[in-house]
Symmetry: C2
Subunit: 343 residues, 2 copies
Amino acid sequence: MATQKEIARRAGVSISAVSAVVNGTTHTRMSEETRARIEGIIADLGYVPNDAARALRRQRAGTIAVVVQKVENPIYREMFHGIYDAAEARGWAVVLGDAMWMRSGSHFLARLLGQGSIDGIIVRSEGLIDDEVMRHLRARPAPVIVVEGRHAQDGRWLAIDDAAAGLVATQHLLDLGHRDIEFVGGASWIPTSERYRGYTEAMADAGLEPRPANRSGFGSSAGAEGFAAILASGRRPTGIVVNNVLSAVGTLNAALDAGVRVPDDLSLIAIHDAEVADDLRPPLATVKMPMAELGARAVEAIAAVLAGAPTRFGLVDSPAPVLIPRASTARPPAVPAPWWTAV
Amino acid sequence: MATQKEIARRAGVSISAVSAVVNGTTHTRMSEETRARIEGIIADLGYVPNDAARALRRQRAGTIAVVVQKVENPIYREMFHGIYDAAEARGWAVVLGDAMWMRSGSHFLARLLGQGSIDGIIVRSEGLIDDEVMRHLRARPAPVIVVEGRHAQDGRWLAIDDAAAGLVATQHLLDLGHRDIEFVGGASWIPTSERYRGYTEAMADAGLEPRPANRSGFGSSAGAEGFAAILASGRRPTGIVVNNVLSAVGTLNAALDAGVRVPDDLSLIAIHDAEVADDLRPPLATVKMPMAELGARAVEAIAAVLAGAPTRFGLVDSPAPVLIPRASTARPPAVPAPWWTAV
DNA sequence: CTGAAAGCGCTTACAG
DNA sequence: CTGAAAGCGCTTACAG
C-alpha cells in the first residue's frame, strides 16, 4: 500500500506537505497547485492512512469498544444507536464485543487491555463480568464506563432509572384497577432490584401490600419460572410486572400454556421496549427506557475523562421511562378468573 | 503507562531483552535470574504491550472485523461463536460492527478502510451493502470475505446451502402428507431465491406444481405480508415454508390473527434455527443451518488469503441443513380447514 | 511557505 | 548470550 513517503516522492514534495494535505492541519497555506498535485496522486494510488501509525503517533486510536452480555439482546439496539451517533460526532469508530469473549487470556481481552488500539470502553453491567477482568481493565489508561452497574468502585457508572420504570409499570396496572399485582424478577442484580423497589413504592402509595419478588434470571425461561413460582404459591394475581421484556416472553408463554387468558384473566407488562413486544400475541405492554441517551452519555463520559474534564455520572433520568401500552393489559376481570381454579 | 524502555532502564538490561521476555521469541536463552527480574518489573508496573506500536512494526493488527446487517438478529449467534473460536485459535481478536454504520465518511468505515488496525473483514451479504463501499473495501489489502453473497466478484465468498434448506423444509411438509404448500419470501436476494429453488425441487420431485413465491423482505412484518398475499390470492394451502425464522414470526402471528389454527389448519416451517422458535406459540419447526461452520470457514479463509495459501470458497455444505421439528407442523387437516371460509 | 528531523513503542536482524 | 540500531508510517514542533 502507498505511504505518505511514496506520495511525497512522486509529487516532489516533503512528507510534511503530504501529511498536511491528508489532515488539513499544518501547512495550510500551501500553493493551490501543489495541493492539487498531491491530492491527485493520493487519489491515483488510493492512499489511505495507516491507523496503527497514527494511533502510535497521536497516542489515540480513534476507536472505542462496547462490550455487552449478548449482542443479540434487542434492548441494546437503541443504546448502540446512541453510542454510534455520539461517537461519530466526536470522531470515534465504535466496535462491539460480547462479554463472553472476555475470558482471561483471550485475544479479544488483550485488545481491550492493551494500549494503543482502544481509547475507551463501555461495559454493560460490571456485575456480570469477572471481577479480576474488571480490575485489569480499570488498571489501563483507557477509561472504562459501566452502564447499568451502580456499584462501580471508581464511580464511573451510568444507569437508567430502573426504580422509576418499575413504578410506571406498576402504576399502569393500578390505574386499570388492579390491586393484586405480582413482580417477576427478584434477582440480586441491582437493576432488577431497583425495578422491584419501584414496584413496592407504587404498591405502597396505593395502600397495598407489595408481594415478595418471584425470582427470575434472564431470558424467557426465567420468566416462565417466575410464573411457575406464582402458580406454585397458590396466589392468583390479576396483573404481573416482569422485570424485563425477554423474561416476559417466557412469562406470557407459561401463562398461555397454563390456559390463562391474557389480558382477560391476567394483565402483563414488562420493562424495556423492544420489537419483540409487538411480535407477541397478545402484543406486550412495556416501559420504554432512555437507552439511546444512556449510550450517548457513556460516550460523552469517555470524552470527558480523556479530556480531564468533569462529567456527570449516575442516573440518566431524562427522558423518563414511558409507558408503551399494548394489548397485554386490561381491566382486571370482574369475577375471579378461571385460572384461579384451572391449575 | 510503562513502556519496554522504562522496564529496561529499571532492570538494567536492553529493550531487546524486555521484548524477548514479553514475546518469548528471541534471546530465548537468557539467564534465569535476568528473566525473573524483568518479569518482576513487568508485573510491578502492570506493563501491557502497546498494540498500535506492535501493529505498525509487525504489519499486522491481530484483529479482524465482522460486519452484519443487524447485530441483534439471532441467526448470527452461532456464526459469531464460530468466528470467535476460530479467530482465537489463530491469535486474532474479533470486533463486531453493524452494516448501518458503514455510511460513507463514517469513522467506523474509516477504520475498516484504513490499514493497520484490521487484518481482515467478514461481511454478511454484500448485496445489502453499498457497492461503492464494497469496492473501496476490496481495494484495501485486508482480505474481505463475504458470507451469504454468492456473486462476490473476487470469488471470495462462502454461503450455506440455502437450496438444500428449502428442500429439507418442504420435504418435511410433504412427508407429513401436505400437497398444497406455499413459499413465503420470494425476494431477489440470492439466499432467499436459493431457498425457493429448494422448495420448487422438492415439489417437483413429489410430482407437484410449485407455487410462485410470495414476496417478502426481512423481519416479521415481511412474513405477515407474505401471509396476507396468500389470503388475498384466495389460495388456502395446508403448509407454508417461510424463508427465514424472523419472517416466520410475522407469518405465524398473521395466521393466528386471522383465526387460523396452527398446526391444525396450517403447518408452518422456517429456515434458520434460533431461540425465538421455542418462544413462539406454537413453537416453530425450523431447519438449522451450519452457521458456526460458516463463521469458522470465513476465518480460515482470511488466514489463507493472508498467507497466500489456497483455500476453499463456495458452499459450506457440511453439516447439512437439519430439520428441527416443533409443534408448528402436523399432518394436514382431513377436511378443508375452517380458514378456507373464515376470511 | 516548505522541508528535515525527532520520536510515538515496538520487533528483529545483526554485531559483538 | 546480550545490546545497539534500524525502521514500521505517521504527526508536529522547529528551522530556514
